[in-house]
């Protein structure tokens, strides 16, 4: 391994850690993730559907195929969430510093906590006695 390779990674990490654009990206990414995920889950909007019995995939939502096992949407919700939150984060990173500073940092932990009761409600089918 060359010396250049050994020093490049810490230098890159240090520059990210001191970047205000990265801070804005990460803040918006963290806030948007639970919001988009809850929306995708409750409205059932996966980016794709995976059929583990056959290994087939469909774009968007698709039902289970008879005699071919269940359909899985979690992978599609996750992909949609990460892409959506990533896009919002990139847009936000281009905001001027004064605007980015107005985003409340507390939302990065309040938004995921607020998502929990909504997700528990969305899973009400399973809470049967």
């Amino acid at each position: 391994m060359s010396t250049t390779t050994q020093t490049a990674v810490p230098a890159q990490a240090a520059s990210l850690a001191s970047s205000t654009a990265f801070r804005t990206f990460a803040t918006v990414f963290a806030i948007a993730t639970p919001v988009i995920y809850v929306t995708c889950e409750m409205a059932n909007i996966p980016l794709f559907t995976y059929h583990p019995g056959t290994g087939n995939m469909n774009f968007g939502w698709a039902p289970a195929v008879k005699d071919e096992g269940p359909a899985m949407h979690w992978y599609g919700w996750t992909a949609a969430t990460l892409l959506g939150a990533g896009a919002l984060g990139i847009i936000a990173a281009k905001l001027p510093e004064s605007a980015a500073r107005r985003i409340p940092l507390a939302l990065v932990w309040i938004a995921p906590l607020a998502a929990v009761p909504v997700l528990i409600y969305a899973l009400r089918f399973f809470w049967r006695w």
Binding site: A13, L16, A17, S18, F22, R23, F25, A26, T27, F29, A30, A32, T33, P34, Y37, E41, Y50, P52, G53, G69, P70, M72, W74, Y75, W77, T78, T81, L82, A85, L105, A106, V108, W109, P112, L113, A115, V116, L119, I120, L123, F125, F126, W127, R128
Partner: protein, 168 residues
């Protein structure tokens, strides 16, 4: 991946993946718990030798941040990998046996795993700037939130494994 089955059985392969997933989760749980306790209970110097609680909480939080991110992502990848098999060979029998609340708890676990993934960049950023006082509150409660999520996911995974684990 089918060439692997020339050397080990299908069951052994998926069991290895599951055990790796579980071991990564143990490491993640330990790291996050230490870090969360360190921000909740400021380490204080006792007059005498430091006790268990003081030593447990007196960790250097920033040095855990990158490891926590890597462990969360690695645990997530292994979990997502074995999830497809879970959906067919574990969830269906769980539903047939009527363990609905167990299944519901597992559904919430998968939701939290994805949401936690989205929190990692800002979590890393906060800890890389551990001396910035402006981030103290957000850093503290984000770390505690991630630790709580991790505990929930770990215990739920353990319960599901008890319901439909090895040999069942």
């Amino acid at each position: 991946m089918d060439f692997i089955y020339d050397y080990i059985s299908v069951n052994t392969f998926w069991t290895i993946l599951f055990i790796v997933h579980a071991l990564l989760a143990v490491a993640l749980l330990g790291a996050l718990t230490h870090q969360a306790m360190s921000v909740l209970m400021r380490a204080h110097q006792a007059a005498g030798p430091a006790g268990f609680v003081t030593r447990f909480t007196a960790v250097h939080g920033p040095s855990y941040a990158a490891a926590v991110c890597v462990l969360w992502i690695a645990t997530f990848i292994f979990g997502a990998w074995i999830y497809a098999k879970y959906r067919i060979y574990v969830r269906i029998p769980i539903e047939q046996d009527g363990f609905w609340k167990t299944q519901g708890a597992f559904e919430l676990k998968e939701h939290l795993a994805t949401i936690g993934l989205g929190l990692l960049p800002i979590y890393w950023y906060f800890w890389k700037n551990a001396r910035t006082v402006d981030y103290d509150s957000a850093r503290k409660w984000l770390t505690v939130t991630l630790a709580a999520m991790c505990w929930y996911m770990f215990l739920t995974g353990h319960i599901v494994n008890n319901v439909r684990g090895f040999g069942s």
